[in-house]
Point group: C2
Chain length 119, copies 2
């Protein structure tokens, strides 16, 4: 029997804001999806063609997780066939500074790497 699905934020492993933040975005992929959203990408296939080549099942999983945590919204932008656009919520956009600091650090310590983020 699968265990009961936990709602976003229901369990906390600690009272530390860093730990709580990591429980939402602490993995190899979530912040890359958010980076793409900042870069203006909105549809499934756009995320797939990023240079890191995220596996499709992981992408689907991360998008629903980000929605559950309230960082991303999904809305149909056309019918027949229905197509969805993913966009950042205010909560998601407020991760911009985190991303920005990672860009700075990454550009400094991985020479040759270069951000392509929109502001």
């Amino acid at each position: 029997m699968p265990r009961t699905k936990a709602k976003a934020g229901e369990f906390k492993r600690s009272p530390c804001p860093v730990a709580n933040t990591l429980d939402v975005i602490g993995d190899k992929w979530s912040l890359l999806v958010i980076r793409d959203l900042f870069a203006g990408k909105t549809i499934y296939s756009e995320f797939q063609v990023s240079p890191e080549a995220i596996p499709t099942n992981i992408l689907a999983n991360r998008l629903t997780r980000l929605i559950e945590h309230g960082l991303v919204e999904k809305s149909a932008y056309q019918e027949r066939p229905v197509r969805y656009a993913y966009t950042l919520t205010q909560k998601g956009r407020e991760l911009g500074p985190v991303l920005l600091e990672m860009v700075k650090w990454g550009e400094k310590y991985f020479p040759g790497s270069k951000a392509m983020m929109k502001k």
Copy 2:
């Protein structure tokens, strides 16, 4: 046959600084160890008593990874018995701003969470 051990930074999944940064600290635990180092912790047992209760094998693994990536240094601070102190390198300390932004975001979106980081 186990595959050849990759040196830190040898392979890159993309030219993006965010992706490269995540390859170093993109998991649930690494930044918590770094947080503890910022908080002044230096020895193994101190990291273990943090509220998140990191499993001992994961702690050992993360410390060596952080050393391999040049974010942390290990030095004996006493002989008989030999005891080691872990400290941040300059490269590691420069992750401070990333941590700081996570603290801000976490404090905003996880009411009740409160940072205990030293500056």
